[in-house]
């Protein structure tokens, strides 16, 4: 015990003379531990932790994949009638549920909030094993076709919008002109599976019967809308493959009977797909989790290199001390204990700091990524992860310590002591020093290169000039309070007046009565060219005559839509240059006709013009698109004059003056919609870039550590050179040259490796490597040069501050 304390004290003294070394080891280890803790925790939550449902491994989301005539999967969507038929007739699942996802306004609530509404059959909850916090869950009362106007609130809605009202059961909410009686509140512990969209949360659960599909579409078997989800718990006697076969046969039969006859679907077929809940909910994120884990492991690799380099240098440096210890009778074990006491001291501090970093990092992830990650129960730092990650790194360092301790040849210790009178002090051999520097440079160069290409590709994506311009624009969607009936003409007149009043506002530059292309999705139309009979499946959007001017899409051929064409709802299309190029590669697109069904004149459209295509945020390319003219409906896009805007309350006041029954459904900045579209890209981008940055920092730290430590060890040599008359500049150049030779070798090897893997890597960064090869190389080389220079200057500055004699003194400090 006494011996142990003595060893620790000696270690402490030794380290306080080598603060740079201690700093390098501790920061490397604690950084790496912190990242390792965070990623393994995240990995645990995303990959290992069981989903919070009854028998989650038997839960599946079943999707209907429509296959077009060429055999390509087209959309995944259920026709309304087909879903009901499937729901009522399947026998592969023991319990099933169907859901229709929508958003709507709770009109009866004073703040008229827009919340997620999900229309479900009562067995949706049974299948998941949900419980009620208050009142009851949906049951037989709300079963299919019962039309019971009841509602359930999510726990969050109940607390946030209804102040946790204990008497909520029995009260009513007004939604889309219908009054629903609240029968219960879903349990706080219920984690809504994100089956439809990541981040979407249901605020109000309503019975399936009231979903917004209009009556005339409820009898349709073929349908291309897809806000509908089918879930089921597989019977224990059935395998997923058997179930896939059975349900494909079931749905396929009705598809052939009811749908294949429609000309559009000629030659199409369906295939059912069973996706496990784990894949549906965690799909992409699981990939991200593995990716992050890979990053973390590569960091571990760098940290290992750093630490072994530092340990090795330290061992060489201490050689003389060990020799003296050996000379006064220390045996091997005692010498090793000395080494280990020092390492133990370093590791303890590093572990404490690492836990702190891990905790802070996990809390940050929990706070900021909560909305993006598909799990609602992110738990922060996970202790299982800590228990796994900690021994890994500590064990690894211990092994490294053992190895570096063994590098020293104890047999030669005595000899080196005898000869230590001559020459300068014991040094790390030049070859070892250079190898360490080369290895570190290799890491830094690869990381800098890879990271710079990531950043470059991110910057490229964000500054993409082909992406739709949304400066100074807002999207306004209106809805009507339908408690009392409203005639179509009445509503139209109101909307026309809204348009006129918006245009009259002095702050407003332009108004288009179209849906924001950023927030809404484009439809897919199947059109045949009359002349060539070629079929195309362009994205489609209905727009008014102002749309292209508003978004600055230039006219390339023909003419823009006119007000008169919009009012008359003429069968005219404007297509983008991508579609024009595809259909009419060497001719004039204008005047050609595209049709849903060539036999029906009412389904046939004439092309009036061609506009320049725009990219949607986050998209990699511009798809072929068609735009049909219309005078518009509930939706407006408003472009303000530079530096102006109009507040929500002003718009609300204006609406109220027209009719108190006009309700704002959504009012959103298009920039914000754009950002939301890019959110996932941003987050993965930011996550991977910050992880790479951390690894670069680590590798740089390692390089810094090894170079500056090397210089520290050359202290007396530098003293000799100064005493002989070397200027400071000469010393800097000498040290630079010595370190750079090794560094250049490291960079070269790094570049060769990058070159070998260039093609695989290039895909992930949108080809920036091909285009910016020289720039990336120059940045990497510059980074390394700067790190090397700093690592050299830092210790040298310390040396030059003292009188030269200080460098020549025997002691190390």
């Amino acid at each position: 015990m006494n011996m142990f304390r003595y060893l620790l004290r000696v270690a402490w003294q030794g380290l306080s003379n080598r603060l740079g070394y201690a700093f390098s080891v501790i920061s490397t280890m604690s950084f790496t531990l912190g990242v390792l803790f965070c990623t393994t925790s995240l990995f645990y939550f995303l990959v290992v932790q069981p989903l919070p449902y009854d028998e989650p491994e038997r839960l599946y989301k079943v999707e209907k994949v429509q296959i077009d005539k060429t055999g390509q999967p087209n959309v995944k969507a259920y026709g309304y009638a087909s879903l009901i038929h499937f729901y009522e007739n399947q026998d592969s699942f023991s319990t099933t549920g169907i859901a229709h996802y929508d958003d709507d306004v709770i009109v009866s609530h004073p703040s008229q909030p827009l919340v997620g509404m999900t229309y479900i059959t009562p067995d949706f909850f049974t299948t998941l094993g949900t419980e009620a916090h208050l009142g009851r869950l949906f049951d037989e009362t709300e079963k299919l076709n019962a039309y019971s106007p009841n509602a359930m609130l999510s726990y969050d809605t109940w607390t946030n919008l209804f102040n946790s009202d204990a008497d909520i059961v029995g009260k009513t909410v007004l939604i889309s002109g219908k009054s629903y009686t609240i029968v219960g509140v879903v349990s706080d512990s219920f984690v809504e599976p994100e089956l439809y969209e990541v981040g979407r949360k249901t605020g109000v659960w309503l019975p399936w019967d009231f979903n917004p599909t209009p009556e005339n579409r409820r009898t349709r078997w073929g349908d291309r809308d897809n806000p509908r989800v089918f879930i089921g718990k597989l019977k224990t006697s059935v395998t997923p493959e058997q179930a896939t076969q059975a349900v494909t046969a079931l749905v396929g039969r009705t598809f052939q009977e009811k749908v294949a006859a429609i000309p559009f679907y000629n030659g199409w077929s369906v295939e059912m797909e069973l996706n496990s809940f784990r894949d549906v909910i965690l799909g992409d994120s699981q990939l991200t989790a593995y990716l992050l884990m890979a990053c973390a492991l590569s960091m571990l690799l760098i940290a290992t290199a750093n630490i072994s380099n530092l340990f090795l240098s330290r061992a060489f440096e201490s050689k003389k001390e060990f020799a003296i210890a050996a000379a006064v009778g220390a045996n091997m074990k005692q010498i090793r204990s000395g080494i280990f006491a020092e390492i133990l001291l370093l590791l303890s501090v590093a572990t404490a700091l690492g836990l702190l970093f891990g905790y802070v990092g996990s809390e940050l992830i929990k706070t900021y990524l909560h909305d993006v990650l598909p799990i609602n129960n992110l738990g922060g730092l996970n202790w299982i992860a800590v228990v796994i990650a900690l021994p890994v790194l500590l064990g690894l360092s211990w092994v490294l310590a053992l190895i570096s301790a063994n590098v020293i040849d104890y047999g030669q210790l005595q000899a080196s002591l005898l000869s230590s009178g001559k020459g300068t002090k014991a040094q790390v051999p030049k070859s070892v020093r250079n190898t360490l520097i080369a290895v570190q440079t290799l890491f830094v160069s690869m990381l800098v290169f890879v990271n710079t290409s990531f950043s470059l590709s991110a910057v490229n994506a964000i500054n993409d000039s082909e992406v739709i311009n949304t400066d100074n624009m807002i999207g306004l969607s209106l809805t009507l309070d339908r408690q009392k009936p409203i005639t179509r003409e009445e509503a139209r007149a109101w909307f026309t007046q809204v348009e006129a009043e918006l245009k009259a506002m002095p702050q407003v530059e332009r108004v288009s009565r179209s849906m924001s292309p950023v927030s809404s999705t484009f439809g897919t139309w199947s059109l045949v060219d009359e002349a060539s009979l070629q079929t195309v499946l362009p994205e489609a959007k209905i727009v008014d005559e102002e749309y292209f001017n508003l978004f600055g899409q230039a006219l390339l051929q023909g003419s823009m839509f006119t007000r008169a064409q919009a009012t008359d709802y003429e069968r005219l299309l404007i297509i983008n240059d991508v579609l024009a190029e595809r259909l009419y590669p060497n001719g004039d697109a204008v005047g050609n006709r595209l049709s849903f069904d060539l036999n029906r004149e009412a389904s046939t459209f004439t092309i009036a013009g061609v506009v320049k295509g725009v990219k949607m945020p986050g998209a990699i390319s511009i798809p072929p698109r068609v735009y049909r003219v219309s005078k518009g409906g509930y939706d407006f896009v408003i472009k303000f004059k530079e530096g102006h805007s109009v507040s929500r309350s002003t718009i609300k006041g204006m609406l109220n003056n027209i009719s108190s029954r006009l309700v704002i459904y959504e009012l959103e900045d298009l920039e914000e919609q754009k950002f939301n579209k890019l959110k996932n890209q941003y987050i993965t981008g930011v996550m991977s870039i910050s992880l790479t940055l951390i690894s670069i920092a680590l590798a740089a730290l390692g390089l810094y550590g090894i170079i500056s430590y090397g210089i520290q060890l050359r202290r007396s040599e530098i003293g000799v050179r100064v005493s002989i008359g070397a200027s400071r500049k000469a010393i800097v150049i000498q040290m630079m040259r010595d370190s750079l030779v090794a560094a250049v070798v490291g960079v070269m090897v790094g570049f060769v490796l990058i070159f070998v893997f260039k093609n695989e890597f290039n895909e992930h960064v949108q080809g920036v490597i091909h285009n910016y090869w020289y720039l990336l190389g120059a940045v990497t080389a510059l980074c390394i040069f700067i790190i090397a220079l700093l690592s050299i200057l830092k210790p040298l500055r310390g040396f030059f501050k003292q009188q030269p004699i200080a460098l020549l003194r025997q002691s190390d400090n």
Binding site: K422, G423, G725, S727
Partner: protein
């Protein structure tokens, strides 16, 4: 008339560590003339090395005036001091202070490489070989210092001190790490150098070697006194 190479007036050196002051040198007055062979003796810790460090511009005095070749050096910059050391001073240390990683030739050539005047590589090779031959090591150009014996290493150090043709050699315990035979050889070389006109300032506590110097000084508690012999000559 001989030129004074080193002129010190009232030079003191005080080390201060944790509020404890050590007066290593107290108001030293010293003049070293060109061609002089001077030895400084004294008990361990009396300040011999400190005095030599200040003489060699490796350390700054706490107070006092100091001139080398008539040039005042009290406020020289770091690099100016290096330049002056390179031109005027050759050091020979007790622990040799050779650089292990470079060859004997390169060790000796180092002062020429740091010199302001550019020296052609032929001239450098000639001068280095000349100096090494002078100390009897002309055949060891390509050895690494740690492949030589202690006495040989010290002779390399002497060659290095001579190579730039300095005004004065500052020598601190040159034989401290050597057996008596090697020590004698080193001292013989120094005698020869002085005979050829080199100015030498040597610190030693070996009375036998001290008496070889023409002027012998004694340092005690930071203060200089002339030895018996010197006094006699002065009279």
């Amino acid at each position: 008339m001989n030129q004074p190479i080193i002129e010190m007036k009232g030079v003191s050196k005080v080390f201060e560590i944790d509020d404890i002051q050590t007066h290593a040198l107290q108001s030293i007055d010293l003049v070293v003339q060109e061609g002089q062979y001077l030895s400084i003796t004294g008990p361990s810790g009396c300040g011999k090395s400190s005095l030599l460090s200040i003489m060699g511009l490796l350390d700054a005095p706490t107070s006092g005036e100091y001139k080398i070749d008539g040039q005042s050096v009290s406020s020289l910059s770091y690099d100016a001091a290096s330049k002056l050391r390179n031109k005027k001073i050759g050091f020979i240390f007790q622990s040799f202070n050779l650089i292990d990683e470079i060859s004997v030739f390169d060790n000796v050539a180092l002062p020429l490489r740091y010199s302001d005047e550019s020296v052609s590589s032929e001239a450098m090779a000639q001068r280095v070989t000349e100096c090494l031959e002078l100390v009897g090591l002309g055949h060891r150009l390509n050895h690494k210092p740690n492949q030589l014996s202690g006495g040989q290493q010290q002779r390399v150090a002497i060659a290095r001190a001579l190579v730039a043709n300095p005004s004065v050699l500052l020598v601190d315990e040159p034989t401290g790490n050597l057996d008596s035979k090697s020590g004698d050889q080193i001292m013989d070389i120094l005698d020869d150098l002085n005979a050829q006109g080199r100015t030498i300032c040597m610190v030693t506590h070996d009375a036998r070697y001290a008496t070889r110097a023409k002027t012998q000084l004694n340092l005690l508690d930071g203060q200089l006194s002339y030895s018996e012999v010197e006094r006699l000559e002065a009279v």
